[in-house]
Amino acid sequence: MGSEFTRMFELFISASLINNFVFTRFLGLCIFFGVSKKMETAAGMSVTFTAVMMISAALSWVIFNHVMVPLEITFLKIVVFIGIVAGFVQASDTIMRKVAPGLYYKLGIYLALISTNCIILAVPLINAGEHYSFLEGIAFGFGSGIGFAIALVLMASIREKLEIADVPAPFKGMPIAFVVTGLIALAFAGFSGLITL
């Protein structure tokens, strides 16, 4: 049990810092550049993402290992995973609107954006590819979510300052955001080698 916990912790650190989704795997960039303009939206998005990632990791693990592997239809994993994520997001959208309208008002619009996002889909695909166990899968999903949250919040706080900075005209907007991300990615490269899995 002790070693399993260590392994989960390692996976968590690896997913959130070393193999950070945004800075070393380059996933979820559309969302990353799209919503990192304001701190408030960035925070809302991070919470929603982390929750959806963990739950979709768990759901897809159960279906992959208990339905698809026995039936030998693992080649359909892309179709099935996208169905699971979209279905689950749609369901939570409806439930949240009924049960917690206040929360829905705050986070609902992010939910709609999530359903076909590459970062959400990547978690189940990597889980299936690496043959993680159920708990490892959840730790990986959670770590990825936290990693994405760190990236978003970092970027949002920089971009709020960038808005008032004097940037050369062709670099205004997206290009400068890319250069800044490159600099953060350089810093994150320092985490590599922290843990060897």
Binding site: R25, F26, I78, T116, C118, G182
Partner: protein, 205 residues
């Protein structure tokens, strides 16, 4: 957008220049950085996207009369993931080396905003031929962007092109690191904006 008027050539030009996925719309960016540290991977990724985009547009435009508008998004997703699965499996069979490096990103073509967007705004409202050319145009635009990015990254980062040595100098290692990808895309985007601004200013005068 209503049914499209104009020649097929206009559609292709639109996809490559006016609505270039990467440099203009700034969507579907993940692979633009992830697989562009060498020219061959960038090219293969671009071809895969070109194929999926064209086939999806063709399929949707042929099926558009049978799809109920209320459930169109899930149907589009099904069509897209079907074609992506085909691409994924053919890549694994015919280019196993490249697939090992970029398999995950091939599978994630399914989540490309640009492909779903073209299916929604163009192919579901237009006939077979315009949809096909729109798909080819958008795909070529993406391929073009990927080739340009990976050209600079491989040349500067390794001093090679398609694995063939070109420059015999100490390479800038940073360009093939993750950070270099962000720099390359940022600077190329700025260059695109700059050319665009100058061109527009000239025309306005």
């Amino acid at each position: 957008m209503a049914a499209h008027q104009g020649s097929n050539w206009d559609l292709i030009k639109n996809g490559i220049i006016a609505e270039n996925t990467i440099f203009k719309l700034a969507i579907s960016l993940c692979p633009a950085i992830a697989v562009t540290n060498n020219l061959r991977n960038g090219f293969l990724m671009g071809v895969a996207v070109l194929f999926v985009q064209t086939m999806v547009n063709i399929t949707i435009s042929l099926l558009k009369n049978f799809i109920h508008p209320k459930i169109r998004i899930p149907i589009f997703m099904l069509v897209i993931s079907g074609w992506v699965t085909i691409t994924d499996m053919s890549m694994a069979a015919f280019a196993p080396d490249a697939y090992k490096q970029m398999g995950l990103y091939i599978q994630l073509i399914v989540a490309f905003a640009s492909i779903l967007a073209r299916a929604e705004v163009f192919a579901s409202k237009n006939k077979f031929m315009p949809s096909m050319f729109d798909g080819i145009g958008m795909g070529l635009g993406f391929l073009f962007a990927l080739v340009v990015i990976s050209f600079f990254r491989e040349l500067l980062g390794k001093g090679t092109l398609w694995g063939i040595p070109i420059v015999d100098a100490k390479p800038l290692l940073i360009m093939i690191l993750p950070a270099g990808g962000f720099f390359a895309v940022g600077i190329l985007m700025a260059a695109f904006n700059w050319i665009d601004a100058r061109y527009l200013r000239k025309r306005a005068q």
